[in-house]
Symmetry: none
Subunit: 258 residues, 2 copies
Amino acid sequence: MTRLTDAEAARLCVVLVRARNPANIGAAARAMHDFGFSSLRVVNEFPVPLEAARSAVDASAVIAGATSYSTVAEAVADCTLVVGTTAVGERELRHELLELPAAAQRLRAGVAGGGRVALLFGSEKTGLSNEELSFCHLLLTIPMYEHEDMRHPSMNLGQAVAVCLWELVRDRAHDQAPAPVVISGLDAPPADSASLERVTALLTEVMEATEYTRRHAANCDPAHIRRLVRRIGVDPVDAPVWMGILRQILWKLGVERK
Amino acid sequence: MTRLTDAEAARLCVVLVRARNPANIGAAARAMHDFGFSSLRVVNEFPVPLEAARSAVDASAVIAGATSYSTVAEAVADCTLVVGTTAVGERELRHELLELPAAAQRLRAGVAGGGRVALLFGSEKTGLSNEELSFCHLLLTIPMYEHEDMRHPSMNLGQAVAVCLWELVRDRAHDQAPAPVVISGLDAPPADSASLERVTALLTEVMEATEYTRRHAANCDPAHIRRLVRRIGVDPVDAPVWMGILRQILWKLGVERK
């Protein structure tokens, strides 16, 4: 059974994307502190909400150590598993969608494997955009009660963070045996997000240089290409091989590299 | 394992004792709504906080139906099981103290038995007093991380309610027959061997046409290329996309297809 160790908990990053309310950032940080997590990353075009959360009277050590990013790409660059949270289950990008208990097992397996994993929460109003979701390997949803004649409920951001983190640590309190999980079916850890971005960029160049983009425009939305690369479980050993193949194609086509 | 039915959920009362912050009352109500609970009882000497929570813009049906009491005794009068929450584990009253997962089982057993049960949360600052605890049959604590050299952490009221209610319903989600949707990605069946062979053949053509094979001969043994393609977990939906990309490369290179 997987119990989360301190070292494993340290490899889980909570990433708040476009959180607007400093109180929610503070609440997320407090839940992290309560359950033994420390790595908070905040993605915002402007650093104002994080600064406001830092100046709150009950700001925690987690907030003090939080790092600020301007894009999701930078925030997850060193992560080998990126999990996005969603209330409704985005289907457009054909992500695997898991309910919280199953997703928590995958997150635990991710940190147990030695990689850094990211758990993304979108803005209070709109959640994660399709572009932001395209950085994710899978999606997590907290199953909620389906009220008749009502919109699907969504959770308060601070509460959603607390519930997810509780699910991650509850086995530490309460002995249970989650089934062993293999993330990619490979022995090697998956490539980190920065490597996948480099593969994505090269593939995009190839698709443009070969006019694939012109002929199959529907497959060429940047978010779709990113997902296509995420779905193939490129490992760190193979990533340079794929890069080499793609570079060679561009060289042969006589493309001046950007 | 007991699954919570709607009728059982209706018999669980969340009792907020001396909650001072209307936003916290609202957050508790929102979590109740999210997880399918409806019976909220608020104990306050003065009804001001509940009234303020009622007037909040996003006030829920739960808040609208909340009842106000001036004492814990009245609020739990019709309950056959009363469970108090505590951060530190009050022992003075020699209560049975259970961690959340075990306490949740008792709460589920309580409503399953046909009785009305109460789950008490104390004020944000002081928790439940000894006098208030004296109405409880047992105490529940959410196990939290023990930080060295720090006071025992306490949870935000709205987050504590959300975590407890999630624990009460998580088996309903978790036990349910197959998770809602598996769209693609890691759980999709992998492409069959014939598809993978077609991808392999095309990739081999591309590697030859671009002279990759000449420059990186070590990567180009047929078995190596086959393994490279196997290691990427191409699913049946993506396989034709990859074939299209590879065909387009060959077309652009002016390669006469075999």
